[in-house]
């Protein structure tokens, strides 16, 4: 039996506004509990919501970026349920008339192919507060700082076919929202949260019953949680059981999903249009105004990197996934003018260091000007690529720019042909056996001579010159 996985994602993105969706309270992360909750956030009687125009703008910006239909008339609804961290007893959301309608996202898969995944809709809604169960001796503390924080809920079509595709989709979405500047996208702070609707079916058959997997708040967990849920469903079905439509919580420590509550007995949310807010009316001019502020988006940038810098598709993709990396790369090129070397240094050497040290590129100890300066020293033959790695390490250690490091450490390449000739002559004289071998046709030993010479020069001899002179001398 060949099973097919069907996944749809619901992603909550916290919009990077200064204040809440319907009140003037700050949404800054990490404040003391309940210091960022005003009379509206506390749902005191008689208080009323006023839509944050910036949040609307950001939602429309996202819609325009994914080429979606934008709701010229969008309507807020009340989603009713009781919970202590939901002060009004309803969440203000959008049901039938979301701000963003159908759109799509092009996602690059592992094999390099591009898949277009449909986005059903995206709507604005307010976040709930937090219930704190620790530190209250069996009671529950409520922190309403987060209550009312603006979210954009983005819903994908069930067109994702594997956990890796889901991750690729999320990474692309993540990249896009950072490009657009509409969210900080920090999953560890809950700026981007993901729920996955997962089902399996035999190839060619109709959709299976889905389970909604919640609490998967890192790319790594998305992949693991989906895989484990798919395995659970397949095992269940192959054993003759059936999948129940329900919400399942992912436990990253045990790497398992477990039932939270059955949708069959779920809340009836009794949605109805929010009478405290008029429908949100926007016009084409407003949309065009926002479209005009769109930055260069990842796909366009990738294409430009391929054209302008003659980079491979792979290099261009790696560099453009993250806006900060792309900007860093371009700043390096601006200094050194060598795109190929810049791409290698940024995506290989620098990235390896940043990954290891777990710091974002924006906080890299080596700024683009320094790296560009280093590459300049390679292209003008001051140092070899190999020596450059040593200089780079010194830069990471904060030892200054390439010029200074090369000078203090005496790493300047030997390009004086007289000096190289002397070294070559010495090595030839000291290794008559190998000379004989070479001259009898065993050309492999050429590398041995190069190694010896580089050793003699402590790596500073210009490799091209060494090759040339050595070849000349040996053939004599």
């Amino acid at each position: 039996m060949e099973w097919e996985t069907v996944i749809g994602l619901e992603v909550h993105v916290q919009l990077a506004t200064k204040s809440k969706l319907f009140s003037g309270s700050s949404i800054e992360f990490g404040a003391e509990p309940n210091t960022q909750a005003n009379v509206f956030d506390l749902a005191l009687p008689g208080t009323l919501p006023v839509l944050n125009k910036k949040a609307l703008e950001m939602a429309v910006k996202f819609g325009v970026a994914i080429d979606a239909e934008i709701g010229l008339k969008s309507v807020f609804d009340r989603k009713n349920y009781f919970y202590p961290d939901l002060p009004k007893g309803y969440q203000t959301s959008q049901l039938d008339f979301p701000i963003v309608g159908k759109g799509s996202l092009d996602v690059t898969l592992e094999d390099g192919s591009i898949k277009t995944i449909g986005i059903t809709r995206a709507h604005m809604e307010e976040d709930a507060g937090k219930s704190l169960h620790e530190d209250f001796h069996g009671e529950t503390g409520i922190d309403l700082n987060r209550a009312g924080t603006p979210l954009l809920e983005i819903v994908s079509e069930p067109e994702i076919r594997s956990a890796t595709e889901a991750v690729a989709f999320l990474k692309k979405l993540h990249s896009l929202i950072l490009y657009l500047g509409i969210s900080d996208g920090d999953m560890s702070k809950g700026n981007m949260r993901c729920d996955a609707n997962v089902s399996v079916r035999l190839k060619g058959e109709e959709l299976g019953t889905r389970a909604e997997v919640k609490n998967i708040n890192s790319f790594k967990f998305v992949e693991k949680a989906i895989n484990i849920e798919v395995a659970r469903q397949i095992e269940l079905l192959e054993d003759g059981g059936r999948v129940v439509q329900e919400t399942r919580l992912y436990d990253s420590e045990k790497n398992e999903t477990r039932s939270m509550r059955s949708k069959e007995v779920a809340n009836d949310y009794r949605y109805f249009p929010e009478p405290d807010l008029l429908p949100v009316l926007i016009d084409e001019a407003y949309i065009e105004e926002i479209r005009a502020t769109l930055p260069e988006l990842p796909d366009t940038k990738r294409q430009r990197f391929m054209n302008e810098y003659k980079l491979s598709e792979y290099d261009a993709l790696v560099l453009t996934n993250d806006l900060a990396t792309a900007n860093y790369f371009e700043a390096v090129v601006l200094v050194c003018g060598n795109a190929k070397l810049s791409a290698n240094w940024v995506s290989v050497d620098l990235q390896a260091y940043l990954n290891e040290a777990e710091i974002p590129i924006s906080e890299s100890p080596v700024r683009p000007e320094l790296l560009g300066g280093l590459i300049n020293k390679i292209t003008d033959n001051t140092i070899s690529s190999k020596i450059a790695k040593t200089v780079f390490e010194a830069m990471l250690a904060g030892e200054g720019n390439a010029e200074n490091i090369i000078k203090t450490k005496g790493l300047k390449q030997v390009t004086d042909s007289g000096a190289i000739e002397t070294m070559v002559a010495t090595v030839i004289a000291n290794n008559p056996e190998q000379v004989e071998q070479y001259q009898s046709g065993k050309e492999k030993v050429f590398g041995f001579f190069v190694g010896q010479i580089m050793k003699e020069s402590k790596g500073k001899a210009n490799p091209a010159q060494v090759n040339q002179i050595l070849k000349d001398k040996l053939s004599k």
Binding site: V39, A43, L48, L51, R78, N80, P87, R270
Partner: protein, 482 residues
């Protein structure tokens, strides 16, 4: 002094006949003496009122007084008042003190008005008789065995008994106009969105509107001048210019076309009341108006639609009263569900619980289309009826209520009969229109109210029409023996 309305008091204050402090003290003393029998106030703001009065007198001494500086008023206990209890007539909010003023209250404070106290009302404004208040029923000063109408019964009783010159009130389905009719007052419900709802405790957000209970149209105009206006804090308040509502009071009514809805003179209307209304209409003819029968064909559906929409909105609006953050909280809750259940069971009265259940039911999966959506359709039809009528006439007139005030306790066990109390007023809220009730005579020494309905944002015209009627008649000057 107690016979004076706002306009007269304002002139007396300007002439230096007495100070605001004197008027305020006199009213406070009168309330203490007379209100035991009426129960029209929930909270008396003695200390604050005297401080406001002194401040008003000081302002006047500096020559900076406005028309309302130093005038004492009462606020319906639905408007939040900073530092003073705002109960909304409910046990749920018996301990609630808002840290803010409603925009309406703030506007009056800015104008130098003195707040005498907070008036009694049906719990969360749900009622037509002021019998659902946690603080007990309010009595009608014309006959203490009778209701004053509701939900703004405390404001109406207080103004009619001269326990304040005028009061604020709110109207969701008739809660200003019907008490005005029962107590012989002028009751103005402005166009939806004309007056800010911020800080006014919500019953049904799409219908609630703040207005006035006064002894004359002129007083209503003076108050509306302070209350009306766009409020950026209320997204449903409408950003169109206000008018000077006293400017047009004296325009003649020559050529005024009055529509008489046949549905408002049909079965169910008390014959004596009808007679008084017909007499009033003749009076308008003498003033140069013409009468024309019109039809509001969907008006019989208004009560049904209202009792779906208003409870639906209320069911969500009242969800915040959960015992978690403020207000009533049950003793010793065992768990979260127990906290919710007992807090809400004990904190709300019967009528409020009834409406929360009706609203919850109407919004439930499987019933939403049949009730909520259908009610919204009817609402549109009712609005269309008015639009069609206003293509032919300038204003619509009829009785405010089918009868005069009824006995306390006579209808409390029959919610449907009670809901029909507002049969002539509810459609106006569904359509968002302005309406005013003015005294039009007495039947067995009980007041009868004439309702005048206008097009959107024609408050100025309605007040002009009401004022001209009050220049020609003296029904609004009739007062009960207290």
């Amino acid at each position: 002094m107690f016979k004076s309305g706002i306009a007269e008091l304002s002139r007396s204050l300007a002439a230096g006949e007495f100070s605001s402090e004197e008027i305020t003290s006199a009213y406070l003393a009168r309330i203490k003496e007379k209100d035991k029998a009426l129960n029209s106030y929930i909270t008396l703001c003695e200390e604050q009122a005297l401080a406001q009065a002194k401040a008003a007198d000081a302002t006047r001494a500096k020559g900076e007084a406005s028309l309302l500086t130093g005038i004492p008023l009462a606020h319906k206990d639905i408007f939040c008042t900073a530092g003073i209890k705002t109960s909304c007539g409910s046990r749920m909010l018996d301990n609630f003190i808002a840290p803010y003023n409603a925009t309406v209250v703030e506007n009056f404070n800015q104008a130098g008005v003195v707040t005498l106290g907070k008036t009694n009302m049906d719990e969360f404004a749900m009622g037509s008789s002021n019998e659902t208040s946690y603080y007990g029923p309010v009595h009608n000063p014309w006959d203490k065995d009778l209701v004053p109408g509701g939900s703004s019964g405390g404001s109406a009783s207080a103004v009619a008994a001269h326990l304040c010159p005028a009061a604020t009130a709110t109207d969701t389905g008739g809660s200003i106009r019907q008490p005005a009719a029962f107590c012989g007052l002028t009751g103005l419900k402005p166009t939806y969105g004309r007056v800010s709802r911020w800080g006014m405790i919500a019953f049904a957000s799409s219908l609630d509107q703040a207005g006035t209970l006064t002894r004359s149209a002129e007083d209503a105009a003076l108050m509306l001048n302070v209350m009306a206006g766009h409020d950026p804090k209320d997204s449903t308040s409408i950003d169109i210019a206000t008018e000077n509502y006293t400017a047009n009071l004296n325009r003649p009514l020559d050529g005024l076309k009055i529509g008489i809805p046949v549905q408002h003179f049909a079965e169910g209307l008390n014959a004596d009341v009808e007679q008084k209304i017909r007499n009033a209409l003749s009076e308008f003819e003498k003033l140069g108006a013409t009468l024309k029968d019109i039809s509001l064909p969907n008006s019989h559906q208004s009560v049904s639609a209202y009792y779906v929409i208003a409870p639906a909105e209320a069911s969500a609006n009242l969800s915040r009263y959960d015992g978690v953050r403020y207000g009533y909280r049950c003793d010793d809750p065992q768990d979260l569900e127990d906290l919710y259940k007992r807090t809400r069971s004990e904190g709300f009265g019967t009528e409020v619980k009834r409406r929360i259940m009706i609203g919850t039911y109407a919004l439930s999966a499987g019933y939403y289309d049949a009730y909520y959506i259908k009610a919204q359709k009817i609402r549109r039809l009712i609005k269309n009826d008015f639009d069609n009528a206003f293509a032919e006439v300038d204003v619509i007139m009829g009785p405010t209520s089918p009868h005069t005030a009824f006995k306390i306790g006579s209808q409390t066990n029959d919610p449907v009969t009670m809901y029909l109390e507002d049969i002539y007023t509810i459609a106006v809220n569904l359509a968002g229109l302005p309406g005013i009730s003015v005294p039009a005579g007495l039947v067995k020494n009980l007041p009868v109210g004439l309702q005048i309905i206008g097009k959107n944002f024609t408050e100025s015209h309605l007040l002009n029409i009401a004022h001209q009627f009050q220049q020609a008649t003296d029904w609004h000057t009739q007062t009960p023996e207290i």
